[in-house]
Symmetry: none
Subunit: 195 residues, 4 copies
């Protein structure tokens, strides 16, 4: 058996899987779990619904894998930002905000919103979400915000509450979707900036 062909096939398989996942993320993000039909995903991915099952065993597994990778990505991204040493805390937060708003951060937030609110979420996802809740992000971002408060750029007060509020506002805005215009980052940042 030709080894190279095999690897190529695996490569193709992996790429196709990613392509399907991207299509699926958008569909789930917009329509919810129950509102998303497997046929909608297969159509969005340009394949037959039967083929979907060569890549994912079930709707549940597909959704679970999307949530998993969303959490992983976000964790990594935030971590990279934290460790980056090229600006003031406020600048970093602005960067974070902009990157979320600019790119397609929306499906990510929408996906998590759905995962948190649906009743028919796979158990595995439920467990994931207990670990990666708001508290998790507060912990990650705490040093950054604390520093911002201490250097006088950001408003004083309970740091955790501030992070929670900002993250909530950001999540909310992202969750809304097309019907609403995304506010400019400057407007959102006013929540944090010391007058």
């Amino acid at each position: 058996m030709p080894r190279l062909a095999k690897e190529q096939l695996e490569q193709i398989h992996k790429e196709r899987k990613i392509q399907i996942a991207q299509a699926a993320t958008k569909v789930f993000a917009k329509h919810g779990i129950a509102g998303t039909k497997m046929s909608m995903i297969s159509q969005a991915a340009g394949i037959s619904h039967g083929l979907l099952y060569h890549y994912f065993n079930s709707k549940d597994e597909l959704f679970t894998s999307l949530v998993k990778s969303a959490i992983e990505t976000s964790t990594t991204e935030i971590q990279k930002l934290i460790e980056w040493t090229g600006g003031t805390p406020l600048e970093k937060i602005k960067l974070l905000t902009e990157s979320i708003i600019d790119e397609d951060g929306a499906p990510f937030f929408q996906l998590l919103h759905i995962a948190r609110n649906s009743k028919d979420v796979p158990d595995e996802v439920k467990e994931l979400l207990t670990n990666y809740s708001l508290d998790f992000y507060i912990k990650q971002l705490f040093p950054l915000f604390k520093e911002g408060q201490e250097n006088g750029q950001m408003v004083e007060g309970d740091t955790a509450e501030l992070i929670a509020a900002y993250f909530t506002v950001l999540s909310g805005v992202m969750v809304l979707g097309d019907g609403y215009p995304l506010p400019r980052p400057e407007l959102l940042l006013r929540i944090l900036i010391k007058p």
Copy 2:
């Protein structure tokens, strides 16, 4: 021969209908249209699924009626606030924000969010929403915000954009639901206040 007067029966009927509508609002708000099963509503209302159909002809009609009354209520509430002459614009906006956050404004925003984002929304609702979009609220609130800007309490700049941003943030926060803590109004209002 009915022991109770016709009017009494109608009264009971109306009250029961409202009670069902309240239960249904919460369920739809949390689970979306497709995610909401009629059995979930009937259970939430404490009745059999069959009885649901004595009060609403179909899931679609039920959902439509909820959206209708949500729009009516919100329009009236805002209008009352506008016409009230007891405070500065900023105080009024604070009151509006608080009343939304405090009471059960959440289901209302969640319902409209769902109505705006689901694909299987009844046509009647689609039409309603074209009329009662963000622009509608911007128009309603414009004088209030304009006045706030002119009296120096609120930040300058494009009034419509400011309203849109504030309303978006508020909507987003309300849509998120239980998983996130509602920020204190003061934090949100910072978006508007002149430093």
Copy 3:
């Protein structure tokens, strides 16, 4: 307890029952068993559906009683005609034909047609129909037709077949209902008359 009142009440009860039965016959005749809703009957009878159950225990019982009385009536009518001694056989058959066509014989035939063709007919009705099938009417009418053939007025040939044919045609025409114009008896009788 006033005796007279009691009898009056029973009288009223009986009359109401007949009135309901008449309404029900028409509805069943037109819409079939499955197509007939108890609410359609109650509405046709001008009462609430609840009250229906004071007069008939169930839809099945109601339908069964209608079929029973239809069979009884028809048997009696034909018997009366046979025993009547005022005309030639052909005249009698013409009378029979006219009386069926003129009065509301249609619901009767339609009811029996339905009883014969529906799968969800009560067992009691199924049994009744095995006894009162076409053969039953052939037997009843045999002497009349035989006499008509022997006196030269009617076509010769297998008497039973002739009766069956005529009765079938008559039944068929009656079953059709409103969409078709009822043929004049003279036209139908041509099937029987000797040229």
Copy 4:
């Protein structure tokens, strides 16, 4: 990749659809619309009820398509007979009668009878039936009957009435179904023949 050519698949699909339609025709013809359950049809066709919906979108659509093709077939058949030039009018009518009685003309007539008498008929069917009523057949057959009257074979009198009567009798007989023996064509034709 499909092993069978696209055309073959379509061919199979079409054949299966026809097979289902034939099964459905019989079931509807016997039990009426309300009395026909989709499970009865799927069972008669030897498939699962779910598969039914790959071929027909709904019970209504299925019924409508049956009525459509019944009307088409009958129109074509009659037209062919009219245009055929191989016999006297009476012979043609006899042929028509025989062909209706012999083959499975019964389900066709029963289907139309049901379509005409049910209240829950799809609107499309209602419209079809206004166009293809008795009058339509009278118009089609008028030349044939007129000729038969003029050449002295058939009874005189109002041609349209004669056609109506004959068609009504024929329809009625066909509608009755299994419970009654189909009369020999000769007996029915006596309605038309000049003594």
